[in-house]
């Protein structure tokens, strides 16, 4: 994060050099693109400490300037304060990119994904406060050669620093210095082979103590396609070396690895994907699991979660928090459209930890030992393995051009096993039925009803463990600029963290133009776990006013 003075200096220098380059250009192609998000909230938030007033103000302005082969970009951020995460005031992103034929060079801030993300998948998710943005430089070369240009090559090298703010404790920041490279070659169309390498030096805080680490990750991948089949496999191996300190008296160098594969088959009207994951970047005994462990999977490693992503409220509730250090599982997802009116979607997934453990200390102390199993490459449904499984079915049917219906059913179970007290194991089971009916009339008017019913069981409830929740949203829209909606959610859960049983919210969305929108809402929201790419944070219940203004200028 630069301070304003430093950033303005940098922008001035960039502008100076860009100007010089522009002058030497025979013809100028100039384009400016800008976007802006303003978010304001004022109300009350319920947390473990009770109900407190909650105010936030976030302003994010991005400007990109394209001049021939150059692209320069700046983000100005003003949080006073941010809704969640670390407040910033000033230039939070700046970059200069040059792109010519097969080359792209970028200096400044950037994100990057290597292959399936086992080595590197840097991204930002503001709702959960996650940001693994680089500050450095990268170089990409993408070309084709050989007879008729049939051989393809794509390679990237990068280097830079990253300050990662822990989403569970925003005062805790991990610092990394990273150098990495990635390539893929396709000698002929059905085959792609690739690999990546990453080296990092990092400072990992645990309380007031910082552990200096260095880590190396090697990854290889292979892609094959034939007729309707597509296969992709990727394997990564990581070694982390720690410097001795007051936590670790001796240097340690544990290894970890991860594998991901997907096989899909498609034909006209049908598509199926089978995903498999086996992440073992830091398989440790239950008492050593910690988000501050220096040997954990690094924050910029983010492999596929192999769990279905939903956009509706109750289906998204009770999500599974993926542990990239110790998790094995699979997912099957299929689409079938027998005609243009009907689409069926089925999804099944099962995921768990690799091993069960036993206490081998006969005294009052505990010493856990792993119980080996030959089938550790497959997930287990036993409680001791903290399994998560889900089955989802959905049918979407267009009765006619104006009337669309969608009905689904989901059954999921998420278990967090307590080895200390198996009776305290957190077992959540939920059956959810989402229904959607949408009707368009008078060419520009639309009415949409979303209704979700959920029956749930939570073993940690002190009283009634079975409860239900119901959510109904009714929206009326007038294309192209107005949506008015009302949402009511209710439950009979006596132990909801908010202490409430009814939440109601009204929302108005108005579009000034096709890409400039204002959204206003007032009312109460239930809160709960919110996830992005398998990473979750708890969002507190909120009651009050929210305003969001989104602008885009191209």
């Amino acid at each position: 994060m630069l301070n304003i003075k430093g950033a303005v200096k940098l922008a001035a220098v960039i502008l100076f050099f860009v100007s010089g380059f522009i002058y030497s250009q025979p013809k100028l192609n100039i384009k400016v693109s800008a976007s802006n998000i303003l978010r304001y909230g004022n109300g009350k938030e319920t947390s473990v400490s009770g109900e407190d007033s909650k105010k936030y103000f976030e302003e994010l302005a991005d400007v990109r300037l394209f001049v021939n082969d150059f692209l320069a970009g700046v983000r100005y951020e003003y949080d006073d304060p941010i809704e969640f995460g670390k407040s910033l005031k000033g230039i939070s992103r700046r970059f200069l990119e040059f792109k010519k034929d097969d080359f792209t060079v970028r200096a400044g801030n950037f994100y990057e994904v290597f292959s399936s993300g086992l080595t590197l998948n840097a991204f930002e998710s503001r709702p959960i406060g996650w940001n693994t943005e680089f500050d450095g430089g990268k170089f990409n070369y993408k070309t084709t050669f050989g007879k008729k240009g049939k051989i393809k090559f794509d390679g990237t090298i990068l280097g830079g620093g990253m300050n990662f703010t822990d989403i569970s404790d925003t005062s805790r920041v991990e610092e990394y210095s990273i150098r990495a490279g990635n390539f893929s070659v396709s000698p002929f169309k059905p085959l792609i082979i690739g690999g990546s390498y990453l080296y990092t030096e990092g400072k990992i805080p645990t309380g007031n103590i910082i552990t200096d680490i260095s880590a190396e990750i090697f990854e290889g991948n292979l892609g094959l396609s034939h007729k309707g089949f597509n296969l992709f496999v990727s394997y990564a191996n990581k070694v982390t070396i720690s410097e001795p300190n007051s936590v670790y008296s001796q240097s340690k160098a544990p290894r970890g690895d991860g594998a991901y594969g997907s096989l899909s088959y498609t034909r006209e009207g049908f598509g199926i994907t089978v995903d498999y994951k086996n992440y073992r970047f830091n398989v440790v005994t239950p008492d050593n699991r910690s988000s501050t462990d220096p040997f954990k999977s690094l924050p910029f490693q983010n492999a596929p979660s192999c769990i279905k992503v939903y956009s509706s409220t109750l289906l998204s509730r009770f999500p599974h928090n993926v542990d990239f250090n110790d998790e094995v599982g699979w997912q099957v997802d299929a689409f079938y459209s027998p005609n243009d009116k009907l689409t069926l979607n089925a999804n099944a997934s099962l995921t768990s930890r690799h091993y069960d453990y036993r206490d081998i200390d006969t005294s009052i102390y505990t010493k856990y030992e792993r119980i080996e199993r030959s089938s550790a490459f497959l997930p287990s449904t036993k409680n001791e393995f903290s399994p998560y499984w889900e089955l989802f079915l959905e049918a979407e049917y267009y009765v006619n051009k104006n009337l669309k219906t969608k009905l689904g059913v989901s059954r999921k179970t998420n278990i967090l096993y307590s080895i200390v007290d198996p009776n305290a194991t957190d077992i959540v089971r939920a059956t959810t039925i989402p229904l959607e009916v949408q009707y368009t009339f008078g060419k520009v008017y639309g009415v949409k009803l979303n209704a979700e019913f959920q029956s749930a069981y939570n073993s940690l409830r002190a009283g009634e463990k079975n409860f239900w929740s119901q959510l109904t949203t009714l929206s009326i829209s007038r294309s192209p600029n107005l949506i008015i909606s009302g949402t009511v959610e209710s439950t009979n859960d006596e132990e909801d963290p908010s202490g409430k049983k009814l939440w109601a919210k009204g929302e108005l969305t108005f579009k000034f133009s096709s890409s400039n929108t204002i959204m206003l809402s007032y009312g109460s929201e239930r809160g709960g776990l919110q996830c992005s790419s398998g990473i979750c944070r708890y969002v507190n219940p909120f009651n009050g006013f929210r305003l969001t203004l989104i602008n885009n200028y191209n």
Partner: protein, 165 residues
């Protein structure tokens, strides 16, 4: 430092003054069959509608169905519809199965690192950019609501007229 900033801004303004302004952004992405697709090549056919979507985004899929119908109606007039998937590693393997299951025939590209999406200022899908045949941004769209098909069709008709010989 003030002097450097003022000098840079003035120099920049001077350099760009009196020059022809036109679109200045091209991209080269891979489609779901592994072919490289360049925006400048697509623009040779006519106005290009770029829809940024994701497999988990419900309104994106509603908009895609409408755009597919409009593409079927206007593709012979030069209208080009391209869907750019912003799915990341967790859902990218489902992109091709979804498209094939719906028997869609338009071009679908992978924008996995969202570089094209963010260069156009995209914040959340559905987000679309409509380029006229000269490559200039004719319109951008955030969100989708029922009934937008009438407006989209009228925009397509308007875009088809721009720069036509």
């Amino acid at each position: 430092m003030k002097k450097i900033i003022i000098l840079s801004v003035l120099l920049f303004a001077f350099m760009i003054s009196g020059t022809g302004f036109s679109q200045g952004y091209d991209f080269n992405l891979e489609d779901i069959d592994g072919n490289s697709v360049k925006l400048s090549e697509l623009l040779k056919k006519g106005p290009v509608f770029l829809q940024f979507w994701a497999t988990w985004c419900v309104p994106c899929k509603e908009e895609m169905k409408v755009l597919n119908e409009l593409w079927g109606k206007y593709k012979d007039s030069g209208f080009v519809f391209v869907a750019l998937s912003t799915d990341d590693q967790k859902s990218i393997s489902k992109v091709k199965p979804y498209i094939e299951s719906k028997s869609y025939k338009f071009t679908v590209l992978y924008d996995t690192d969202k570089s094209v999406f963010s260069n156009y200022g995209g914040q959340d899908p559905p987000f679309s950019i409509f380029l006229d045949r000269n490559g200039n941004v004719f319109k951008s769209y955030s969100g989708y609501m029922a009934g937008d098909d009438a407006k989209l069709e009228s925009d397509i008709n308007e875009a088809l007229k721009i720069g036509k010989n």
